[in-house]
């Protein structure tokens, strides 16, 4: 186990280095400059000066080396767009709301999705199955901002049950959470239903039934456990994308999250912020994938976690 973990962590570091390097060099070939988004009101000398100030006049490999050195010292640089604000501070300020919203949406969405999927599988080919299927298809095919718009219009503007937007109290998180949880709920329901059906038709369930094991015990102890594996697989990456924020939902509900920052930084060539957010995403991703792999073993002991060859 320990050997396996160490090996995985080494791989993770290598993966991260590759991601950081690739992003850095790709970012440098983007057109435009971080300092001239004004449409001609900066003189060329001034632009040259700013580039020198931020070390952008150096050859790209030198910039890369400087950046990596900084990162290892915990220095992610300062934003160009938001004058002088340290990137690490910007990320810390904004990851909170995104993570909170994402976690709420994920937990509620996943639980509801798993329940829906199970009901659909157990009551296969009944109206319960069909309606759960319809919910799942709607959730997958309609983008979250449509739900967001509808929720906001009816529940906030028309009936004024919930606040329109802002990020102030738990009640403010209700609408964005609902809008955001529909997709994970639908995905979980679909996977759960398919897997449950497959598991329920397998030999060992037949055997359990033949042995007279109670229905509840079959469902929860034998079927659910095995059916969870694919759900966990999709939930892992989804966790990262939900918790690192969603541009549209954040804009519609005025959530001060990080999703929007990622997009803006690319549009404004704000190099340090692009790098900072990419590193954040990448780190979360590799960590989640590791956790998912560890969870497999926990759920299904047949999946052995071992290091090296067997």
């Amino acid at each position: 186990m320990a050997k396996y973990l160490i090996q995985r962590i080494i791989y993770m570091i290598i993966t991260l280095l590759i991601i950081i390097s690739a992003t850095f060099f790709l970012m440098k070939i983007m057109p435009g400059s971080p300092f001239n988004n004004l449409g001609g009101k900066i003189t060329p000398e001034q632009q040259a000066f700013l580039e020198e100030k931020y070390g952008l006049d150096e050859p790209v490999p030198v910039q890369y080396f400087n950046y990596i050195t900084g990162v290892f010292q915990g220095d992610f640089g300062v934003s160009f767009q938001y004058e002088n604000r340290p990137v690490s501070q910007m990320i810390l300020d904004r990851i909170g709301p995104s993570a909170e919203l994402g976690a709420q949406a994920l937990i509620i969405g996943a639980i509801l999705g798993i329940i829906l999927g199970m009901i659909a599988a157990i009551k296969h080919n009944t109206w319960l199955d069909y309606s759960s299927n319809i919910i799942a298809v709607i959730g997958i095919s309609i983008p979250s901002f449509v739900f967001a718009g509808l929720l906001q219009y009816y529940l906030a503007v028309k009936w004024q049950i919930f606040p329109v937007s802002f990020w102030e109290s738990p009640i403010h998180t209700v609408l964005p959470t609902i809008a955001l949880m529909i997709f994970p709920m639908a995905i979980c329901a679909r996977f759960m239903r398919t897997e449950m059906l497959e598991v329920l038709g397998s030999d060992y369930i037949e055997l359990a039934r033949a042995k007279g094991v109670s229905n509840n015990s079959i469902m929860f102890k034998h079927a659910l456990r095995n059916a969870l594996i694919p759900v966990i697989t999709v939930l892992g990456p989804m966790t990262v994308s939900l918790m690192t924020g969603t541009l549209v939902i954040e804009q519609i509900f005025a959530v001060p999250g990080i999703g929007e920052q990622f997009v803006t930084s690319i549009n404004t060539n704000d190099y340090p912020v692009i790098m900072g957010t990419t590193i954040l995403f990448a780190v979360l991703f590799v960590v989640v994938i590791l956790i998912v792999d560890l969870l497999y073993g926990l759920i299904d002991p047949r999946i052995r976690i071992t290091g090296g060859k067997e």
Partner: protein, 567 residues
């Protein structure tokens, strides 16, 4: 029992995934909470001092910077103007009035090269220190110091303020800038060349005073939080939460505090146009700026208003493009393009409001004749939309250039609005000019700017917002070889007029004004650009909001000092 265990396992594993994945997020949540609680204290503090007169509005983005010398955008400029005060300030609509300097006492030397400003003695910083001429000297030197990397400093100061150009070239020290403080309340500026519009020039936030001790004490943190901003203007910032919003309260130590009617301003960051409108409709904000599609639904509301801007938009026809320069240099070809599209159709698609179709370049109601008071813009129909005339010019161009069909590319951005711009221009031009095909090129904003700067485009739409109140802010763009002349236009007569306005006519306001009018006439006669519109901003505002019904022509959009709520 066993069943319960399994449900528990299910829950635990779900929670584990989410929590473990966000181990960094967890600690962030803590800092977030701490911040929120400290913000909470601040809000209670302010709500005690705030009466009922708190204006609640929205902003389209967080404030990129509160450092006066680093601004390059609307939002920063607006809020810097609200917490600071320079020599002068803008009254609503753009009239220049006294600020820290008493305008009526300002002395200008006969050669127009030396300005002596007399400062009021009762102006203080929020910490109680007096605002002195030394603060202006330091503030201006700070903007001119190349090491500080001011975005606008070089653009505004070089060639105007004595020695600025050499300072930016690092040939002279910032202390050599032509500003001095013979005593605490006298501030003297020496210019390289007369700047007849200097009154409005000094409105720019690069010309604000700075409290040397405070700025140096804050170092890199200067202007990053409300605590690292030292106000001397009508309002003080009390809270500023990244991406959420900020709050200001009336600055009781401001010298003219008795004329500041509001007790405070609360601003929320709302990036989505529909969310802004929803918040207005539910009464969370008192005033909202409308985007294109929202205008139609609200035009009949008694709360609707349209505010004139001093900015014009025009189509650029690049005479130095790699492939089509021969065509673009042809007068008839340009005339045909300039007259062939319906300006109203463009406005309807892009803004949906009552922006004015324009056949001119320098905006109407921007500057007036110094003697007669007549508006600079007397209108012109030289480049008016006229399909018949456009077709005639087009036929002549075809004869002269010997072509039957031609394809031009139209450069625009990649946002929805930018795409609708390229579509409407393509439709209009192709419909009215036979044999013309328009190929639309939609790229991100930064790339669009690059391509324009390199003159690597054929057609594009641009707008210009002035930096000070003078026609030369517009006319200067298209002089031969000018930095922003990205259409490759060149006319000796035009150049001569602009040069005269800057030099020998600089001290003869009437003649200078007329020279600039002539220059604009030449620009239009040559069809150097194809004017489209003068923009208006459409808003909804509750009837109790006062003093915000006019936009300033340049710099900060609104003068919140004069805003009021009268319920």
């Amino acid at each position: 029992m066993k069943n319960k265990n399994w449900l528990l396992f299910l829950l635990v594993s779900l929670v584990a995934i989410t929590l473990a994945a966000c181990s960094t997020g967890g600690t962030d949540n803590n800092t977030e909470e701490q911040e929120q609680s400290s913000e909470g204290e601040e809000t209670t503090e302010t709500s005690e001092t705030q009466g009922e007169k708190v204006l609640r509005i929205s902003a389209t983005s967080d404030i990129p910077t509160m450092d006066p010398i680093m601004t390059e955008d609307n939002v920063s400029t607006q809020w810097i103007d609200t917490v600071y005060e320079g020599l002068y300030r803008q009254a609503p609509g753009g009239e220049i009035v006294s600020g820290i300097a008493k305008k009526e006492e300002t002395e200008v030397s006969e050669d127009g090269l030396t300005y002596t400003f007399h400062l009021r003695e009762d102006a203080t910083w929020a910490n109680g220190d007096p605002v002195t001429a030394q603060d202006f000297v330091y503030g201006w030197q700070r903007a001119a110091n190349p090491a500080n990397g001011s975005f606008y400093g070089n653009y505004l100061m070089s060639g105007k303020i004595k020695n600025a150009e050499q300072i930016f070239a690092e040939e002279l020290a910032p202390e050599e800038l032509g500003v001095s403080a013979p005593d605490d309340y006298t501030f003297v500026v020496e210019l390289e060349t007369p700047v007849p519009y200097f009154d409005s020039y000094v409105i720019n936030s690069n010309f604000l005073p700075a409290h040397k001790e405070f700025v140096e004490e804050q170092g890199d943190n200067f202007s990053l939080t409300p605590d690292s901003i030292l106000a001397n203007g009508p309002y003080k910032m009390t809270s500023w939460k990244a991406e959420e919003g900020w709050e200001l309260v009336k600055n009781e130590t401001y010298w003219d505090a008795e004329n500041v009617a509001l007790d405070g301003i609360s601003v929320k960051v709302l990036k989505d146009a529909d969310t802004r409108l929803s918040n207005y409709e539910t009464g969370n904000i008192d005033r909202v700026t409308l985007s294109g599609s929202q205008v139609k639904d609200n035009q009949t509301s008694p709360e609707f208003g349209s505010l004139s801007e001093a900015s014009t938009f025009y189509m650029k026809m690049n005479q130095e493009s790699a492939e089509k320069s021969e065509y673009m240099q042809n007068y008839n070809f340009r005339m045909a393009l300039a007259k062939a599209f319906d300006k109203q159709a463009y406005i309807d698609v892009v803004y949906g409001n009552d922006s004015i179709p324009a056949n001119y370049f320098v905006p109407a109601e921007f500057v007036e004749h110094p003697e007669t008071g007549e508006d600079f813009q007397q209108g012109s129909d030289l480049l008016a939309y006229d399909v018949e005339a456009a077709k005639e010019y087009w036929t002549k161009a075809k004869e002269e250039l010997g072509f039957e069909e031609v394809t031009l590319s139209f450069l625009s951005g990649d946002t929805d609005v930018a795409k609708s711009i390229s579509e409407v221009m393509k439709t209009e031009l192709e419909k009215n000019l036979e044999g013309l095909s328009i190929e639309t090129v939609n790229v991100p904003w930064a790339q669009q700017l690059d391509l324009m700067r390199e003159k690597n485009y054929e057609l594009a739409v641009s707008g210009w917002i002035p930096d000070y109140k003078d026609a030369v802010s517009f006319i200067d763009i298209f002089v031969t070889g000018g930095e922003n002349n990205d259409v490759g236009y060149s006319n000796e007569e035009y150049d001569a007029l602009v040069k005269a306005a800057k030099t020998e006519l600089a001290l003869q306001p009437a003649e200078r004004f007329e020279a600039l009018q002539q220059a604009e006439q030449i620009l239009l006669e040559d069809a150097a650009i194809a004017p489209i519109l003068q923009r208006k901003t459409s808003v909804l505002a509750k009837n109790y909001v006062k003093g915000l019904d006019q936009l300033n022509p340049f710099s900060n959009n609104y003068s919140f000092k004069y805003a009021d709520i009268q319920k």
